[in-house]
Amino acid sequence: MDFIPNTRLDEEELLKVVRASSIDELFEDIPEKIRLRRALELPPSLDENSLISHMEDIARDVKKGSAIFLGAGAYDHFIPTAVDHIISRSEFYTSYTPYQPELSQGTLQAMYEYQSAICELTALDVANASMYDGGSALAEAAKMAAEATGRKKILIPKSLHPSYRQVVDTYLAHMGYILQEIEYRDGVIDLELIEEKVDDDTACLLLQQPNFFGSLEDALGISEIVHRSGALLVACVNPISLGLLQPPGEYGADIAVGEGQPLGLHLNFGGPYLGFMACSQKLVRRLPGRIVGKTLDTAGKEGFVLTLQTREQHIRREKATSNICSNSSLCALAAVVYLSLVGKEGLREVATTSLQKAHYTASSLQKIGFERLFKAPFFNEFVMDSPIDPIKVNEVLLKEGIIGGLPLGRYYSELPNAMLFCVTEKRTKEEIDRLVRVLEGIL
């Protein structure tokens, strides 16, 4: 099966016009030494029916959980049906980056609305039209803070998602920045350690709220210490939590980023996801990526364009604020559709229901012998010390179709029996009780 409309007859006509006797003649610029004179070794082409069967076979070799208690950066929230319906409109999904605004007002207005929604969520002034994912958005934010302050040191709490720390490290390794880790105490950042480490050369601190352990950090306290030395605060936040928790703009964050996947995107084995990014007005010209702005057309009618493009790689080349070009536009569309459907009250409800169910789960697990490791308040994730090997716990749960929490030992050697559980609004009391019952049976 191919998707080529031209027939052999068309082909001959076209060849005549270009005055070539064969198609091969068109490839004569390729030196013979590197011409591939054999067929690529690939499986034979499939007709559509066989292809669908083949893909179904692959899909059958994937087992999704009947109840997921795993989070750690990817969250199983309920997605209203209309979200997928809208992002399946091919006017949206088969279009390119809106370089020609007259033919792209749909994408552009939707991105303007997305930016507005992200500003509302984070309580910051401006937002861009998306980055790849939470980790890469955080890395770009760290770089942005370093460039804005002209300082070299970046403080990275150990309570930040281990993969995010690695992404930041990989992105910034080549730019001469100094990355300094800050230990946690009782599952949150030790403020005294910040006091010790923050100095005149500190560009920013990367605060995750709630942090990787699900615990709530003392964001206001941290913000105060960081700003005292002229450094910036970068907040990496769970967007659903902002239905309930104080937004970054209110505790003084200069840049807010996060993983937008909870806003209407499927788990999808880790991608595509959505990095969102917002900042204060004074940093707007340092933002990476696309930004949509409102303007007027020749007749004075309101319309939208990509704007402030002098920040970007296609204009500034090596002096651009970032190299990003393609982003996660369709995922950003999903997010703004999700936020519109769920709405002002709904977002708070999703957050509150997740909070309640997570606390119910934590206390139920505590009753059967699991122990909460950290005392700090938490949102919808929490760390439990398991009385038996976490790997074993998950094996038993899996037999019942339940995806258990994340064993933390491989990320934190000091926490060998710890498990990070996540409970979203989607988990029912019945599912939670089943989780607890199964575990009770093996203790």
Binding site: P5, P31, Y96, I291, R316, V342
Partner: protein, 483 residues
């Protein structure tokens, strides 16, 4: 007609989603979270019904132009038709609902798909190993250059510069800068290729790599690629292949055989996954054996018939994505490759090159062709001829909209004045190409006879030309309610 903002459609108390209820015993929120950590006032999100939201976004969609509506010859973007069967496979519930940290035993199908896709792409590129973490082409460049940097420094060889031709995509220099490299521009020769003598003069042992798109952004194959590779390798440098234009060479030549050490593909271009209005894409990066130890972790491996994620990579550059890359996009690319097979992929190259040459041949009489050579999958013409009557590339682009086409890429590559870069792709019929050619010829005539028709275009879109200067001078980047 103006579509109001979704925020303006709000009516207090209206809801568009039915949410899972709280069926556990509830506690007082302030007993769980200290007051000071709670939000004082809710975000001003819309309050609309489902039908309000669906109509709003459907109406917006109708103000968009996509490949499913018509011809989209945006040069270097490979806007080919996106097969629906790929969309179908990617929407299987079991692909959508798997968590990246699930037990490997439960995701064998997904890991197997990545493993096999990796093998196919390595075969197509002529390289040995691959990573799927990069989410886009530029992300792939960053990843590839970071590996190149790690490779050199592992050998105790501290190299400071990256060579980039003046015809390159803007992401190339931006990615090199992000990796801490100094960018050195290589001029093009009169045939549109790399100026070999200049390359020789610029290359010494401070060069970490040369980044090259082949065919280049003029749609021309670098005839001297073997000599180029020899010069760079001879000085201990490496070659990076920007795969934006790989559509032209599928099954005809492999970057690995040309001497490239690192290769990225844009799955959203060459392998027909949709662009989504700007993303998500996928930019997997393949490498030759000597660079494999530096690949981001984890990689997907196979042992005793089982697939697994290999995190034990002591020399890895680290991670560029939180998880394993854009899996759902990979499903679509895999489906595409299985649909076409080796023969189908080669035919992609054949017809994309034939279609481009056909359009170029027929337009040559009306527009300035800066390089008189056969092209590969795309070609660049200049509006310099029309400029004499005041008609610029931008005006031609806008006028094309009135004929029902998306314009080509304009003002790129930078080395051609008033450039129009046209990439028809293989998924367009002769009839479509002819209609586009007719429109272009018409516009060339209008530029002579009634230039104001072109200068005032577009006439048929919902909005006329938009004031980009105003947008940049007085940035209005978000909706704010009228208090």
């Amino acid at each position: 007609m103006r579509q109001p903002f979704i925020f303006e459609l709000s009516s207090p108390g209206r809801r568009g989603a039915s949410l899972p209820p709280c069926d556990v015993p509830e506690e007082k929120i302030s007993d769980l979270i200290p007051e000071a950590m709670l939000r004082k006032s809710p975000p001003r999100l819309p309050e609309v019904s489902e039908v309000d939201a669906v109509r709003h976004f459907t109406r917006l969609s109708r103000k968009n132009y996509g490949v499913d509506i018509g011809f989209y010859p945006l040069g270097s973007c490979t806007m080919k038709y996106n097969p629906k069967v790929s969309e179908r496979a990617a929407s299987f519930q079991s692909f959508l609902d798997i968590h990246p940290y699930q037990d490997e035993e439960t995701v064998q199908g997904a890991l197997g798909l990545m493993y096999d896709l990796g093998k196919y792409l390595c075969e197509i590129a002529g390289v040995d190993d691959i990573t799927f973490q990069p989410a886009a082409g530029a992300h792939g460049e960053l990843t590839g250059l970071a590996m190149i940097k790690a490779y050199h420094s592992h050998r105790g060889d501290d190299r400071k510069k990256v060579l980039i031709p003046d015809s390159a995509h803007g992401t190339n220099p931006a990615s090199a800068a992000l990796c801490g490299y100094e960018v050195v521009k290589v001029p093009s020769n009169e045939r549109g290729g790399v100026d070999i003598q200049a390359l020789r003069d610029l290359t010494d042992n401070s060069i970490a790599a040369l980044m090259l798109t082949n065919p280049n952004t003029l749609g021309l194959f670098e005839e001297d690629i073997l000599e180029i590779a020899e010069i760079v390798h001879g000085n201990g440098g490496l070659l990076y292949y920007d795969g934006a234009n790989a559509n032209a060479i599928l099954g005809f030549a492999r970057p690995g055989d040309m001497g490239f050490d690192v290769v990225h593909f844009n799955l959203h271009k060459t392998f027909s996954t949709p662009h989504g209005g700007g993303g998500p894409g996928a930019g997997p990066v393949g490498v030759k054996k000597n660079l494999a130890p530096f690949l981001p972790a984890p990689t997907v491996e196979k042992k005793d018939g089982k697939y697994y994620l290999d995190d034990d990579r002591p020399l890895t550059i680290g991670k560029v994505s939180t998880f394993y890359g854009n899996f759902n996009v990979l499903v679509k690319a895999y489906t595409y490759i299985r649909a076409l097979g080796a023969e189908g992929l080669k035919r992609v190259a054949e017809i994309s090159v034939l279609n481009a040459n056909y359009c170029m041949e027929r337009l040559e009489e009306y527009y300035l062709l800066p390089y008189e050579r056969r092209c590969m999958h795309e070609f660049v013409i200049s509006a310099n001829k029309q400029k004499r009557n005041g008609v610029k590339a931008l005006d031609i682009a806008k006028r094309l909209m009135d004929f029902g086409f998306h314009p080509p890429t304009i003002y790129f590559p930078l080395i051609v004045q008033e450039a129009l870069m046209i990439e028809p792709t293989e998924t367009e019929s002769k009839e479509t190409l002819d209609a586009f050619i007719e429109a272009m010829i018409n516009i060339a005539k209008e530029a002579e006879e009634t230039p104001e028709e072109v200068l005032e275009a577009p006439h048929t879109t919902p909005l006329g030309r938009l004031d980009e200067t105003l947008a940049a001078r007085k940035p209005d980047l978000r909706w704010i309610p009228n208090e």
